[in-house]
Amino acid sequence: MNGVHDLGGMEGLGAVDPPAQEPVFYNDWERRTFAMFIPFVLSGANLDMFRHGIERLHPVQYLTGRYYEHWLHTFESNLVAKGVISEEELEQRTQHYLEHPDEAMPDGGDADQAEHYLKIYEAGASTRRETSNETPAFGVGDRVRVKNIHPSGHTRCARYVRGKEGVVTEVYDAFVFPDTNSKEQGEDPARVYNVEFDSTELWGSGNAERHKVLFDLWEPYLEAA
């Protein structure tokens, strides 16, 4: 979707202003939210649904909300949509914890479950898939053009590269295709290519700076130039 999350090249968003130091989590709710990812996936969701849930935040909330607020929103909206939880019970419990902010969490889970989750973080969960014997459509050095497409759902084809031409620098294996996986329409693995774009192609010859941008693109996003 052509959403506010697709930020490449936008202006007027202020300074980066990196602090010298900051904690991994600023407070208790951030660390709790971070730790919900595996339970979220085990409830039947996936990484692309997670990302699309964030993209569907109201643009004002997207730009002004704290990072883990985004996570909370996508957990809530996806789990409600899947029927894992209901909005009513979530609202009821929220009200309860607003009135009893220091109340302990219910007992649950066990040590084996916690260890199992840690092992998932340690092992990872690659979205790379077997590529069968299909010949890649493009090779290193080929000139390609990003299709001028505007899918209304989740896509990793950013606006600032659409319609632009670049050169393939790397041919990767197939990876789960976000556009279908985010809709639970299948993994449809497709090859990923690293494509080098000249800044003049992306931003015009009037851009004050010259550099290269390297961008990974799934095969369905590309056509021969």
């Binding site: 730790a35 909370l72 419990r93 219910p106 007992d107 990872g124 290269k212 390297l214």
Partner: protein, 211 residues
């Protein structure tokens, strides 16, 4: 989820920002529901959070860099297959399943960004800093990286240095092998680790020679 006829989402209504108290209560509400479903616990929350607070962080990437600086064969393996080379050192996991390391040289300066969200190589750099996830860096780094590096990070690169910005748009996780600073020839691998900053592996910092 309400959608319009074209399939795009209808605007949500609401007032922003949400207070910390409200968010904290919503997080507890959701967590308690997931506990009831048997898919998490306080113990799991603590263990997972502590893993990224205490164990996984940029000191791991720094150890990989220091080894690459002192062991040419390891460096070649790292540039050929970063995931495998890191695994030799027991480093790997979520958001680093398919890593690629890119080398900074005297002629080329690389840096990473994720314009669409916040993708970042967790196993070697830890969880990303907030500025990496915030709009300004993501918006500007692909259009005016030289200015961002100079004004925001104090990295003033020579005009002839080629800047290459890696927008992490798919599932490959890129990170930077910074240049080894001059004057460190006599330092050990352990000493070199201490020099390597998180920012130098993102590509928004340089490794400074020891004072």
């Amino acid at each position: 989820m309400t959608t319009t006829e074209s399939g795009s989402p209808a605007p949500v209504s609401g007032t922003f920002p949400v207070t910390d108290e409200e968010i904290a209560a919503r997080v507890k509400a959701l967590e308690s529901l997931l506990i009831d479903k048997g898919v998490t616990s306080e113990l799991a929350v603590d263990k997972i959070a502590e893993m990224y607070e205490r164990e996984v962080g940029p000191h791991l990437g720094a150890a990989v860099v220091a080894r690459a600086w002192t062991d040419p064969e390891f460096k070649q393996r790292l540039l050929d297959d970063a995931t495998e080379a890191c695994r030799e050192m027991g480093i790997g996991g979520m958001q680093g399943e398919d890593m690629v390391v890119i080398e900074n040289t005297g002629d080329v300066h690389n840096a990473i960004v994720c314009t669409l969200c916040s993708c970042y190589p967790w196993p070697t750099l830890g969880l990303p800093p907030n500025w990496y996830k915030a709009p300004a860096y993501r918006a500007r780094m692909v259009k005016e990286p030289r200015t961002v590096l100079r004004e925001e990070f104090g990295v003033d690169l020579p005009e002839q240095t080629e800047i290459r910005i890696w927008d992490t748009s798919a599932e490959v996780r890129y990170w930077v092998l910074p240049q080894r600073p001059p004057g460190t020839e006599d330092m050990t691998e352990e000493q070199l680790r201490e020099l390597v900053s998180r920012d130098s592996m993102i590509g928004v910092g340089l490794v400074a020679a020891p004072a």
